[in-house]
């Protein structure tokens, strides 16, 4: 993935299109409309989520993946948490609220692709508990225009700032 903002920031029109896309897909996940969300992914999507390892300052912190999946495993994960008899982690379903901000975007080298970097704050509350917890991180997405011109998510890397996940295992996608 392109790591640095290129000298080709997206146009204002594309920026708005991206913003609208990211808001929409966050709302689909918040409202557990998983099939519609899966419809926004390319067939070759790669979805990664990482946590931090704290190293001494002489070496940069690095990350390790806790999720690293293609489309088939993503479908399985969402079928699991979307089917009450197949999940305990999400039955009752948790309430999630995704805040997606600080969008920066530029054109990728591959034609028709854009890179979007955002900050995310995700609140998750299990229904049985009075209060929930937050996940904080940075997302780097690659979005690609399909044949009809609609945007599709081709790659997502969620870099959580946490070193230890506070609330037990992660069962939701961000």
């Amino acid at each position: 993935m392109t790591e640095t903002a290129s000298d080709r920031p997206v146009s204002d029109a594309d920026y708005l299109t991206l913003q609208r896309f990211l808001n929409h897909e966050a709302a689909l996940l918040d409202h557990r409309r998983f099939d519609e969300w899966l419809g926004l992914l390319t067939a070759d999507v790669i979805y990664r989520m990482t946590l931090q390892v704290t190293r001494d300052a002489a070496r940069p912190n690095d990350e390790y993946a806790i999720i690293d999946e293609g489309i088939d495993a993503l479908k399985m994960r969402l079928a699991q948490i979307g089917t009450p008899r197949l999940t305990h982690a999400e039955n009752p379903a948790s309430f999630t609220r995704r805040f997606v901000t600080n969008l920066e975007a530029w054109y990728a080298e591959a034609p028709g692709e854009m890179v979007a970097r955002t900050s995310i704050l995700v609140h998750r509350r299990k229904t049985a508990l009075p209060e929930g917890g937050f996940y904080v991180g940075e997302r780097r997405d690659v979005l690609r225009r399909g044949e009809e011109g609609a945007l599709r998510l081709a790659r997502r890397e969620v870099r959580l700032d946490h070193a230890i996940a506070f609330g037990g295992p992660v069962s939701t996608l961000f």
Partner: protein, 434 residues
């Protein structure tokens, strides 16, 4: 939840006649404090795998009985309390790294990697007779390496590690030392905290074969896991659960008898000659047709050897670090044989954490349920009613007579006999007053 103040040591928690274990063992802070002294202060506890710290000066910071220790390679591997002798500051504030010396950020006290104090910066103001040799970092008195597995113990008088592992070493060899170069940790451990007692993890791994299809209805029925592992969730008749005299145990789940031939290739064919070089024939025979092995080394070192595809086995280490009676920090490592290709290792790593990492499709349901069990038990009413292990009782005195491997073994695997034996072992260690 306040304890009733009665001395925890005067009680018994395991009702051997009726197959009950007191819920206090899982929620009482008083019992937890006794565990820290008698279990985590006296038993050998896993600290790291040697492949995590390959070079001189490499270190990781780990928990040993509630204390953070630096596990560092300095010729041999040592473990030192991560706290300056002057004002207590942590020497290492990273999870892992490489150090020539350990230098305190507060006043500059510096220590060698073996813990010896080099300078306090103001040595000239120290008394003439200051005993510098006594001001080194507090060492973990016993650190031993069993075939790459680094253990530590706060009790200087503990039995040597090979004796502590006892008969179970036969199984550890088959999972962790089965090729000439041994195993390698593939990535830093996943770490997460859960509001559950550490023993729920140990019990689940040492022999809870009743929960798989109820707790894990998702991954055992959904593609791609279901289709990749067709028929694998039905255990073969010779599957067995076992425990050794030292309290270490596992379940060996074999493939059932009528699967297509290809499924019986449970590990990579190119590893077979390496296993044959390293293992005894009976260990090799155990590994063939083994679909999954899940076990626990007393107290809190669990492992899984799991089939993650045809000819692919992931080995996972899982540790249940106690934080309090009702909270633990979990570490999860994925390992593979050093001799395998980078592609094989990547595949095993991804498959291993897809199933058993902190976002694993098995893990998320187990942990939700354990936290729920503790939340519902941590109140005065629930605590009057013990946890049931009744399916152990008809089997306790009737181990399998035709089992050749080390340990006492039982069939079928869907009883709680090994879990109950774990709790009996736990109680004996808790009550031993020496």
């Amino acid at each position: 939840m306040a304890d009733d103040g009665s001395s925890a040591t005067r009680q018994r928690w395991v009702d051997e006649a009726r197959g009950f274990v007191s819920r206090d063992a899982f929620v009482s802070e008083e019992i937890f404090r006794l565990e820290i002294e008698r279990i985590f202060g006296r038993c050998w506890v896993l600290l790291a795998h040697e492949s995590e710290i390959p070079e001189p000066g490499d270190y990781v910071v780990r928990d040993l009985g509630g204390a953070r220790v630096i596990v560092v390679r300095d010729g041999e591997i040592r473990a030192l309390l991560n706290s300056c002798r002057h004002r207590g500051t942590e020497l290492c504030r990273a999870d892992q790294g490489n150090a020539r010396h350990f230098v305190c950020p507060y006043h500059g006290w510096s220590y060698r990697r073996d813990g010896k104090l080099i300078t306090t910066v103001y040595d000239r103001h120290m008394p003439q007779d200051a005993a510098f040799s006594e001001l080194g970092l507090i060492p973990v008195p016993r650190v031993e390496n069993y075939k790459g597995l680094i253990f530590g113990c706060w009790d200087a008088d503990v039995v040597p590690l090979p004796r502590y592992l006892g008969d179970f070493a036969w199984y550890l060899d088959a999972f962790f030392a089965r090729t000439p170069r041994g195993m390698e940790v593939l990535a830093p451990p996943h770490r997460w905290r859960t509001k559950a007692n550490w023993k729920l993890g140990a019990l689940n791994f040492i022999g809870d074969n009743q929960h798989v299809l109820t707790t894990h209805a998702g991954p055992t029925t959904l593609d791609p896991i279901r289709s990749a592992q067709a028929g694998l969730f039905t255990p073969g008749k010779d599957s067995v659960q076992l425990i050794t005299d030292e309290g270490h145990g596992c379940t060996l789940t074999y493939l059932k008898e009528d699967l297509p031939e290809k499924y019986y290739q449970t590990h990579a064919p190119e590893l077979e000659p390496l296993y044959a070089q390293t293992l005894k024939p009976d260990q090799l025979a155990m590994l063939r047709r083994l679909r999954v092995a899940v076990g626990n080394v007393f107290p809190n070192f669990s492992f899984i050897e799991a089939t993650v595809g045809i000819g692919q086995k992931a080995v996972i280490i899982r540790q249940w670090q106690p934080v309090g009676a009702t909270e633990m920090e979990i570490l999860s490592w994925v390992l593979a044989e050093r001799e395998t290709t980078p592609e094989y290792k990547q595949h095993v790593l991804k498959a291993g954490f897809r199933l058993f990492g902190m976002a694993g499709v098995f893990e998320q349901d187990d942990l939700t349920i354990w936290a729920s069990a503790i939340a519902a038990s941590d109140n005065p009413v629930a605590r009057r009613y013990p946890f049931g292990f009744q399916t152990a009782l008809p089997y306790l005195d009737h181990p399998a007579t035709d089992f050749a491997g080390p340990g006492r073994a039982w069939r079928p695997i869907e009883t709680e006999v090994v879990q109950f034996e774990f709790m009996r072992r736990w109680e004996r260690v808790m009550l031993s007053n020496r």
